[in-house]
Symmetry: C2
Subunit: 338 residues, 2 copies
């Protein structure tokens, strides 16, 4: 027999998927960032549900309001990748019996903070007794079927771009684990990336409006993993000749003798969007993001080859399909790398 721990998250999902009757039409493939149902010709109800679990997703130093806020951000980030505004948010809570009223209020506060940041309200939910803190968020939104950006539309020659730089959360988790804050220039960047993540909803909505995006994904499983996902769904390869790694990550890596490439590509829980864009439309997409106060980072391009390459210390190396995976790393993400 094979245990969940040995199977890992993706094989578990596969095993469950095999047991399910498949609906006749599935406008978004199983395993994409969101699910959807075509409730009327060409009109999609878009749904997302994602669970935050205390033992794996909440570092000790994270307050409960931050955990609740993060649970919202995790879900909104997937809507952002699809360019869909959440219209309703529901929450299911599992709360250990020894939680105090003040802690429960903190959870309410964090949920509200997250929801209001993205212009949605908490409409209802469910509360349960559990051994560990569980915060399960559900989002609902609407989209036109032909407007929804999938992972599968990238074409060879498309530009690959991200809404931000990577490599911040692993140093952040490490600093928290070591109970250090690092020099001031690190502190906010790294630690905020862990405790106060943000979803790129405004950017995602603006990008969707341009019709310039051929494929998109949220990068919460890590930059390398997410690129592999687009590659698989779109049947393209990638050359990432300008890796989007934060300058602070290079500095941090140097002081600790770590590999910035590892920190940037194989981290995770970084809620940026990764998009592919036909070069003809790139300017339009770039302007749309800048209008929202954001920035689009051109990191490489899609190719017709079945190969993912990225620039590392002046030469192109293969990008592994590797990222954080529940079960396999058994517990907290930071322990998997540091």
């Amino acid at each position: 027999m094979t245990s969940a721990k040995r199977l890992g998250e993706r094989k578990i999902i596969e095993a469950i998927w095999k047991q399910l009757d498949k609906p006749p039409r599935l406008p978004v493939p199983f395993g994409d960032d969101v699910s959807a149902v075509e409730y009327k010709d060409g009109e999609l109800a878009v749904l997302k549900t994602d669970m935050l679990v205390g033992r794996t997703d909440v570092p000790t130093q994270m307050s409960y309001w931050q955990a609740a806020r993060k649970a919202v951000v995790m879900n909104v980030s997937d809507f952002a990748a699809k360019g869909v505004q959440p219209l309703a948010l529901l929450v299911s809570l599992g709360i250990p019996p020894n939680f105090e009223r003040a802690e429960i209020e903190q959870i309410g506060k964090g949920l509200n903070m997250g929801a209001r940041k993205y212009n949605v309200h908490v409409l209802g939910g469910d509360t349960n007794e559990a051994d560990d803190l569980i915060i399960n968020i559900t989002l609902f939104g609407l989209s036109k079927k032909k407007k929804l950006i999938l992972r599968s539309g990238a074409q060879p020659g498309d530009i690959v771009a991200t809404t931000g730089l990577f490599g911040l959360t692993l140093p952040g988790l490490a600093l928290l684990k070591w109970r250090e804050t690092g020099p001031p220039e690190f502190r906010d960047k790294f630690i905020d990336a862990v405790l106060m993540p943000s979803a790129r909803l405004r950017e995602g909505l603006a990008l969707a409006k341009t019709n310039a995006i051929s494929a998109a994904i949220d990068s919460s499983d890590g930059l390398a993993w997410s690129l592999h996902e687009i590659s698989r769904a779109s049947n393209v390869g990638f050359i990432i000749d300008n890796p989007p790694i934060a300058p602070e990550t290079f500095k941090f890596a140097k002081t600790r003798n770590l590999d910035p490439f590892e920190l940037g590509f194989y981290g995770g829980e970084e809620y940026e969007l990764i998009v592919t864009i036909n070069p003809r439309h790139y300017k339009k997409a770039e302007r749309a993001v800048e209008k929202q106060g954001g920035k689009l980072h051109k990191i490489g391009k899609a190719t017709a080859k079945d190969e993912l390459l990225a620039q590392r210390k002046g030469k192109l190396v293969k990008l592994k399909k590797r990222g954080y995976e529940h079960f396999k790393h058994g517990g907290r993400k930071v322990d998997s790398i540091l």
Copy 2:
């Protein structure tokens, strides 16, 4: 400080609700069976999310496929009360790392079984590592705003009716706990009520179509509690002169020296619908349910008094606002009564 255990589920929900910004329009009040958002004039997206937690919701003798199936039923029952067909089902799983592949496959099978029974498909979800089995289900459906049956529409003089009889789950839980099955006449009724519950979706959909229903609720918090909820929301009282207690419950109670009234009114996890109906429309409602192969049990009527009374051994007694509540009973439901 007050712990979650002392606060109890309802006070926890209140504490969280207080932290939330309220949306300008809320077509269904917070705390009703479902949540809804008016995405277009008069059109509601109806949403439900409910979590099944191993330690409180899964008796030892329940298989994993039964647990997964039950998680679906719990949620569908709330849609049934609103007369809404689920159009999409999402699932978030928390799985302990030592679960075997066969157990995970069972969960997939049970999810599919539950979903297909109610004509919906599992469209996607999320898998996580957790200390205990967690199955969180989300449902989506559509309704016209003016068609949605709330808890608040009952009028004095309305007939109160249920879609089935009560008092089966507590004996079922007791038999399972005692590792007994009881005489054959008990076995299926009681034990199936626990391990293989059903939601009254067909009845709920048929009732909603008649326009005869003034208020409705699913009875999963127990018969007494659910009547109190309609009473509070509709500002009516009730006289339940024909309590819907199963004949088997009376027999079981006798052999064990238990009170059938307690078993019938203060149980819970019985997924019947409780509805109120203007007497003029009763026949129509009754026929609609019978057409679906079901039965409507006339149990009493709504009054203008602020009082809930029920027939017990030949006289009317007050119905307490009591039912199973997470946290307060600390652990399994059956221990709270037997």
